[in-house]
Amino acid sequence: MENKICEKEVTIGNADGLHMRPAMQFVDIANRFQSNIQVSNNENTVDGKSIMQMSMLAATVGTKLSISAEGSDAEDAIEALRELVEDKKFDEPAPDQEAGHSEKK
């Protein structure tokens, strides 16, 4: 099987950042793919299929993450994860959609 390497930079778009539930959604999608998936912020690179490692990135809103996938379904994996983070924003409100959100917390 053909081994591909794909990379993509995404920005966390939901107000509450990559907390438990988004991290769970992320690893659930990542685990659907056969490819190895790694995610890094400036400091660390972690396994995108491990909820522990993903949640330890503790990425807040606006954080840029670079996702890389290696394997036969690398392209599809990257696209699915990008969609979750940037388009669906983990089905959570973005900061501008909810006025005063950050003060409330």
Partner: protein
């Protein structure tokens, strides 16, 4: 050698090797294990994770029916953490590289992860650390759960040291080998104290940081008379204590000679001394100590000892065994008093913000009718084996009592249909342990055949002071003028309504309170069996007349301090060796 001072809560002296029990809510001390044990510790981690996953899946099933996506998400997140291979390998490699226990590796690893959250500026993310602590507790509970098994299968004598002892932990103690208890927190009426007194072993509590000072295997002396614990004593101290311990046993024997003698005051007033017991095997000891029946048979152990809800047959077997020791002597079975201090949080789905004011005891039973009826069925079935009575705990008002009695009648009708024999005239009584029941005692008395005052809860509810909280331990006292006033009211109302009344709280086993209770009109005391000889000696040394005078004098005293020092002086004159 290190000497720790605490509060003496159960008399006696024990010298034994220390066994430290970790409690789920506290930091697990770092303990090293030998290289030959490492693979065993790794396996314990695997098993604990497996069990935690099983437990959580079951709980998630319970919540499927409820439309709470937030709770379901929490379970889902926790499950993914528990299944996360990189988490597990991080824990097991810690065990292998640092030779530590499974508990320590789990705790340290998860706390390290949690701290990576708390460092983040965003409060929403940093609060997620609590999820990690939850996961930590869940796994630790599995690990410590298996440790309780170790306590069940001891092979040498030990003194148990713990931050705090929960009923689930003490229920598993092998009474042959546990020689003393020592706890960092607690007071005279904390669970560890009650258990120690009922087992007749010394106990010291409120030792603050004992568990951080001792390691398993250290020799410790638990002096339950003076309230001290000595860690790794030197030879001189050790031999002094060995002699002291022999002396103490001799005094105990002297008291035991009182067994056959009646508990009668010098002016001929007979006082009925009953025992408070929990386990069927305490029944024999209660008889040995000379009690005339059981005034409080606690039934919680059935729930705390096993992992399933006890069946009717299990209830029945336990009751039948206890009753068989007493034959025609009275046995008062108290229905389930679970909740708050006696119910481990692990059995609850959600923490109550205020468990002592929450769904506990009879309230819990009235909302869990299947469980309640199972117990009543078993008590009724056992009622033909001896002189059995039923006692409902924590009654707050008359409606609650009527409801409990109605359920009892329902069970009786069911048994009529089933053709099962039971004592139709079984006596039904209640514990008076809330201020509301004390204040309405006269009306409650019209519908019951006896009262028993539960002074522990009555004191804590009257004074709004948690009996387990050592920071306010000076507030908690059964001889506070307010509590005494309630007790007096209840006694008078019981007399007016012509129903028997007894006291079954810890107060009835405190030497300095005996004269006061007799003076207020109490003629039946139910107490922890090891204290019976001492209490009997007091009774045999006083006259009812003396007692009345003492009780009358306390009416004029306005502070707890005044009353307690007055009572202590009065008792010291009667029984100097009790102090």
């Amino acid at each position: 050698m290190e000497i720790k001072k605490g509060i003496a809560v159960s008399p006696g002296i024990a010298i034994a090797k220390c066994l430290v029990i970790d409690s789920e809510d506290y930091r697990i001390p770092r303990r090293s294990v030998g290289s030959n044990q490492l693979s065993g510790e790794v396996q314990r981690v695997r098993d604990a994770f497996k069990a935690a996953i099983r437990e959580l899946s079951l709980m998630r099933g319970e919540y499927k029916r409820i439309d709470r996506s937030d709770i379901r998400d929490i379970f889902a997140v926790h499950l993914r953490f528990l299944r996360d291979k990189s988490l597990r390998s991080r824990i097991t490699s810690m065990i292998e590289n640092h030779s530590v226990t499974a508990e320590y590796a789990v705790s340290a690893t998860l706390r390290e992860i949690a701290s990576s959250f708390t460092k983040v500026k965003d409060t929403y993310i940093s609060e997620r650390a609590t999820d990690i602590y939850d996961i930590e507790r869940r796994v630790l509970r599995q690990l410590l759960g298996s440790k309780r098994e170790d306590v069940r299968s001891l092979t040498e004598e030990v003194a148990i040291a713990a931050k705090e002892l929960s009923p689930t932990q003490t229920a598993g103690f092998d009474k042959k080998f546990v020689k003393a208890l020592a706890a960092d927190v607690g007071g005279r009426t904390s669970h560890a104290a009650i258990v120690a007194r009922s087992m007749g072993i010394p106990a010291v509590v409120a030792l603050e940081d004992l568990t951080e000072t001792v390691s398993g295997g250290d020799t410790i002396i638990v002096d339950g008379n003076r309230g001290i614990v000595i860690v790794n004593p030197d030879n001189e101290t050790l031999s002094k204590y060995e002699a002291y311990s022999v002396e103490f046993v001799e005094m105990e024997h002297k008291l035991d000679t009182l067994r056959e003698k009646p508990a009668t005051t010098r002016d001929g007033e007979h006082i009925t001394l009953l025992g408070n017991i929990e386990f069927p095997d305490e029944a024999e000891m209660a008889l040995e100590k000379g009690c005339e029946g059981i005034g409080l048979y606690r039934t919680e152990f059935l729930y705390l000892e096993s992992d399933h809800e006890p069946t009717e047959e299990e209830h029945y077997q336990a009751y039948a065994r206890t009753i068989s020791f007493f034959r025609d002597k009275p046995v008062i079975v108290r229905t389930l008093d679970l909740g708050a201090d006696k119910f481990t949080q692990s059995k609850r789905f959600s923490r109550e913000p205020n468990p002592f004011l929450g769904l506990r005891s009879i309230r819990f039973c009235l909302q869990n009718l299947v469980m309640f009826k199972t117990q009543l069925h078993a008590i009724l079935r056992a009622s033909v084996l001896g002189d059995v009575s039923i006692m409902f705990p924590l009654i707050t008002n008359l409606q609650e009592l009527m409801q409990a009695k109605m359920i009892l009648r329902d069970v009786m009708e069911d048994m009529d249909d089933e053709g099962i024999d039971y004592n139709r005239d079984i006596r039904v009584g209640i514990m008076i342990e809330t201020p509301s029941s004390a204040l309405t005692a006269y009306s409650l008395a019209q519908d019951v055949e006896f009262f028993s005052i539960g002074t522990n809860d009555l004191t804590q509810y009257t004074l709004a002071a948690d009996r387990g909280n050592e920071q306010i331990s000076t507030l908690y006292s059964p001889v506070d003028p307010a509590v005494l006033r309630l007790i007096r009211t209840v006694i008078q109302d019981a007399h007016k309504a012509r129903i028997p009344i007894s006291v079954c709280g810890e107060m009835a086993s405190e030497p300095e309170y005996i004269m006061l209770l007799l003076g207020m009109g109490i003629r039946t005391l139910s107490l922890t069996p090891p204290m019976i000889p001492e209490v009997k000696q007091i009774i045999r040394s006083v006259t009812a007349e003396d007692c009345s005078r003492i009780a009358r004098k306390t009416i004029g005293m306005n502070t707890e301090r005044q009353i307690s020092s007055f009572l202590r002086d009065a008792t010291r004159r009667i029984l100097p060796e009790a102090f």
